[in-house]
């Protein structure tokens, strides 16, 4: 089962106004050797575009596990605003 299909099964209340995930220094991704965020994230939030030299952050898929901030010190990780983000049915 593809991760894209699994994401449809998760309940979210997306904060349209603000991303709770940011990389403040864009250049660090360009120089980053492992780009661990792009494969460690369990819901594929991070995608690196080699051509554009840009890290796309699809924050509305985030399940707030916190793994990305442990593998990368440049990720500015916050909780989504109160009430926003993932809301599990089962958990």
């Amino acid at each position: 089962m593809r991760i894209e299909d699994k994401l449809y099964l998760i309940g979210y209340k997306v904060d349209e106004e603000d991303s709770h995930l940011k990389v403040n220094e864009k250049d660090v991704c360009k120089k980053c050797k492992h780009r661990a965020c792009t494969f460690v994230c369990p819901v594929d939030v991070y995608k690196y575009d080699e051509k554009e030299e840009n890290l796309a952050i699809n924050y509305d898929a985030c399940v707030e596990c916190g793994t990305c901030k442990i593998v990368c010190e440049y990720i500015d990780w916050r909780y989504p605003r109160g009430g926003f983000g993932v809301a599990y049915k089962f958990g």
């Binding site: 699994k6 494969f39 596990c65 442990i70 809301a87 599990y88 049915k89 089962f90």
Partner: protein
Amino acid sequence: MKKKDFDVIIVGAGPAGIAAAYKLATAGVKVIVIERGAFPGAKNVMGGIFYRNVLADLIPDFEKTAPLERHIIEQKMWLLSEDSVLGGGLRSEKFNKEPYNCYSVFRAKFDKWFAQKAIEAGALIINETVVKEPIVEDGKVVGIRTDRPDGDLYADVVIAADGINSLFTKALGLRESITPDKVALTVKEVIGLPEKVINDRFGVLNKYEGVTIELTGPFFQGMTTMGFIYTNRTSVSIGLGAIVEDLVHNKANINDMLEKLKAHPAVKPLIHDGETKEYMAHMIPEGGYFAIPKLYSDGFMVCGDAAMLVNAVHREGSNLAIESGKLAADTYLEAKKTGDFSAKKLSAYQKKMKNSFVLKDLKMYRHLPKMMEDKRQLLTKYPQFAIDAAFDIYKIDGVAKIDKIKAIKKRVAKLGYIRMAKDAFDMWRKIR
């Protein structure tokens, strides 16, 4: 005059925070719990096994109303290779008699129920509110800052039960940043299946009896990984967790690993034709005893995952969380008699924890996380050897047993008698 809105503020409505709130509210303490989710449990995940005894102390008849799935009557351990399983385990009718040992549960439902119990006892629970930071005055924690307008709250004591991503312990300098070798990223799928299909596949008679399977072995390619399969009433929970450092080192994606596990020839028949209902991810503290921060400071105590209280060997976490919440509440109740909430007074919490099964168990296994990191062969080479040897013994092919045993002995020699003896000795020495 000293600012004070509540006696105690608890951050996070998981098992630790709610247990503390329940106990305090029952004792007449003015307590508030701040939860960032839409409801208690909305953000909470675990594999799914809940041990009853810590909650029975608090709410003796909890089984009458709590949302429980199945009580576990059989616990299996599987060593997986690419195409085989070598298994063991225990099924006992003693596990099929009340009081039961443990249940499968869904945390989004269970925590919601537990929180309701705390509300009925008199606790106030505020949802949809993020705590931004502790308010510290003269080195003492006096309150919290939330993301609500005018959202500062003050109390005698703040209890942090805000989970693995806790900002408190770090902000207060009680621990360093979490490193990738100290946590496992775990994912899980809840796969819906008819009740009767589950009963038949797992060999139980009805929807109240359940089975657990823990999985590890060379199938996970040298990464420190634990998988699990748990039965619920009308679904099966399947998942796995791997140390984050191993994922980075192997450039591995945990969802890919889960898909591979679901396709294993021994696993696939258990979930065949099921419909995935939910997918979730959560980090589990795996650093063990040495990763636990100091549990208190002036006006402050920390409980549950925020204090890294997980016993990975026995897949225990929520029971340690509840016990820590109870002991933090006890400590507050004692301190309240004197009105002294200093670090010195609250250090009683650390002592209570030390004398409880929580820190005693974690201390016993204190060397294990490092050993698993250093001795990869424990999860790869040795299980692979055991699986291959078992296959040779079971396979009837005209070769005399004595010759098979000779061949197996040769393979042991290749693994190294001395090294194996040393590993066995180290394990014996370090886990006792």
